[in-house]
């Protein structure tokens, strides 16, 4: 048994018996996650790469992590020591050092087989299919996917409770600031392009709307179809709920910061938007290209059809990239999965899900 392994074993038993709590990079690798791992613990006084002893975060005895050569020196002394309980302090120092070394080496080998993914519900259907086919091809890998919205995914990444975050938007300034505080370096990779199409009832004669007209309709300045080339009827505005990723894309690309009219009927899901628009001759809504079906009609924006070609060449104005985000340099297993998503097979899945491939 190697020295490092021995220390890991000691540390594991101490963690399990509750004698020791840890909040550092190793806690998510192959150790039980620290029950005290909360926001207060992750930054400020404690900081990462620190071993905590006993009870609440602020009552912790914190020990700085040793450099590698110093660890080896300590470790050899520890090995000579037949009764480790004699010198608790030395053990803890050894453990702290082991944590550093093991944390680096383990992430490449042992912890590699489990990947957690969390985030945007817009990316979720694509991700589920990706994971399905990836796990079929690589039986040893265990990937769990959950969709809690872009914000939640990014939050989980910053809290280091997920390996990959899915997001339908880029990082907000506030999130970048938080990442810096927490010592996380989020790296964004685009895996697909999502085109958001304005949709109307199939019987609606309007075929094309400009971004400005859409902005007018959604901000409540244009209220009648005759102002945009339709019948003399009131426009029924349908929108996604303001916390959804699709709304954020629409808000950013069409409304450009203007507030959506309070008369807009906010729907809780993409399916509900389709349902309402397909049942109302004078409604307008919007949805991702992948969700469109025969019951509604997509409208061109600025004269450009929202199809895969126009979205990938950038000419369609209401399109956005769908991202995955990782912390710094991902582990080999995560990197392998990312490579798969960007491979022709992965991009084919993107296409099957109604989104537009990036490659």
């Amino acid at each position: 048994m190697k020295i490092a392994d021995m220390h890991v074993e000691i540390m594991k038993t101490m963690l399990q018996s509750g004698e020791l709590f840890c909040k550092c990079t190793v806690s998510t690798a192959n150790f039980p996650v620290c029950p005290q791992a909360d926001e207060k613990c992750g930054n400020g006084a404690c900081g990462a790469n620190v071993i905590h002893r006993k009870k609440s975060c602020h009552g912790f005895v914190t020990l700085p992590v040793l450099k590698e050569e110093r660890f080896l020196e300590k470790a050899s002394k520890f090995k000579e020591n037949t009764n480790p309980e004699d010198d608790m302090k030395r053990i803890l120092l050894g453990i702290a050092a082991a944590a550093l070394v093991v944390g680096g080496s383990v992430s490449a080998s042992m912890a590699a087989e489990k990947i957690n993914i969390n985030g945007s519900t817009t990316v979720l259907p694509i991700m589920q299919k990706m994971v399905e086919s990836y796990m079929k091809a690589n039986p040893g890998v265990e990937i769990s996917v959950s969709g809690g919205g872009s914000g939640n995914g990014i939050k989980a990444l910053l809290d280091k409770t997920t390996d990959i975050a899915m997001s339908s938007r880029e990082l907000k300034a506030s999130e970048e600031k938080l990442a810096a505080e927490k010592g996380v370096q989020p790296k964004s990779i685009a895996i697909a392009i999502d085109a958001v199409l304005p949709i109307v009832h199939p019987s609606n004669p309007v075929m094309n709307l400009s971004v400005d007209q859409l902005k007018g309709i959604y901000s409540g300045n244009i209220r009648n179809w005759k102002d945009v080339g339709g019948e003399d009827r009131k426009i029924v505005v349908v929108s996604r709920d303001s916390s959804s990723g699709t709304f954020e894309a629409w808000n950013e690309l069409v409304l450009k910061g203007a507030k959506v009219t309070p008369a807009a009927m906010m729907q809780a899901s993409s399916g509900a938007v389709i349902q309402v628009v397909s049942g109302n001759k004078f409604a307008i809504g919007y949805d991702s290209y992948g969700y469109l079906n025969d019951t509604v009609k997509g409208v061109n924006v600025n004269g450009i059809a929202g199809n895969p070609e126009n979205a990938s060449n950038g000419s369609y104005p209401v399109s956005r990239k769908l991202w995955i985000m990782v912390d710094g340099q991902p582990s080999a297993a995560v990197q392998k999965f990312i490579d798969y998503m960007l491979s022709p097979a992965g991009q084919k899945i993107v296409e099957e899900c109604g989104a537009v491939p990036v490659k």
Partner: protein, 299 residues
């Protein structure tokens, strides 16, 4: 009389058992209330209570956000009042019919049927409203949208009629025969007896029925989420889409960052909803007490 010690111990045990049972439900409820307050009150560190209740703009995810729930409050109020206006007369009148006019055979058939309706899950009623009633009203009356205040109230009324009907029916049915016989003996017609004697005598029970029916529609989430339209604006007509408070909480909670301002605001809406329901219940309780009959008619 003296009880033997074994008997006394048993009495004590039974008393303790019932005390624990009662305490458990009360403690659980107060803990839920405490949690609601703890999660909702932090909002008022940044938003004043007045801005929250009387604010006209509900833009929780904008920068800077605005947390005005006045349109949601009005929507809840409007939906509840309108649905009660439809449901209370319908429910009470069917109750009077079943208890006073219908033959025992008809009563035997209809009462269980109406009770069965009360067991209909709200999501089924919501779905029925979304797929059948809303498109029908929209096309028939040429409304801009079928998902509006009126449709939501109609579906909610549909939901609370069975509750109101069965409980009022019990109240009307249990009015003592003596009262009715006395009234008829004094020369009153059946209609006069019903209107002047039976109904006032059962008013307390009927108010309980109305409270239960209305509480169901105030707090109802699924139907309002599916049928009310979801627009956070002050309704100017019966046929404008609205966004009652429970629908707002249900639609937004899932995608709200944990313990963000928006999250606190949704809990604050929960507090408002709680106070709103409490107010309704107190009012109805007051009416019930005021009209409580004494003597043989006491329920």
């Amino acid at each position: 009389m003296f009880l033997r010690s074994g008997q006394r111990a048993r009495e004590q045990m039974i008393r303790l058992f019932f005390f624990v049972a009662a305490a458990t439900s009360i403690i659980t409820l107060s803990l839920i209330m405490l949690y609601l307050l703890l999660e909702g009150l932090p909002l008022f560190k940044t938003v004043s209570v007045l801005d929250f209740i009387l604010g006209n703009d509900w833009y929780p995810t904008y920068d800077p956000p605005s947390f005005g729930i006045f349109p949601l409050l009005v929507a809840s109020f409007a939906v509840t009042v309108l649905s009660s206006l439809i449901a209370v007369p319908l429910g009470v009148m069917s109750a009077v019919y079943l208890a006073e006019i219908a033959s025992p055979r008809v009563r035997g058939i209809f009462k269980p049927l109406i009770e069965l309706l009360a067991a209909l899950p709200s999501v089924v009623i919501g779905f029925f409203g979304l797929v059948v009633v809303a498109p029908f009203l929209q096309d028939t009356f040429d409304m801009p949208t079928g998902l509006n205040l009126f449709t939501a109230s109609l579906m909610l009324a549909f939901m609370s009629v069975p509750t109101i009907c069965t409980i009022s029916e019990d109240a009307v049915y249990s009015v003592p025969k003596d009262l009715k016989s006395a009234s008829l003996a004094l020369g009153a017609t059946r209609w006069e007896t019903m209107w002047r004697v039976t109904l006032p005598a059962s008013l307390s029970g009927i108010s309980t029925a109305v409270i239960l029916g209305m509480s169901r529609s105030i707090g109802e989430t699924m139907v309002t989420l599916m049928v009310a339209g979801g627009a956070a604006m002050l309704p100017l007509s019966l046929f404008d889409p609205v966004r009652p408070m429970p629908a707002s909480i249900a639609a937004e909670m899932a995608e709200t960052p944990f313990r963000s301002e928006h999250y606190f605001a949704l809990f604050a809406i929960g507090i408002a909803l709680f106070l709103f329901t409490l107010m309704f219940n107190l009012l109805a309780d007051h009416i019930a007490h005021k009209h409580r009959q004494t003597g043989a008619a006491t329920l």
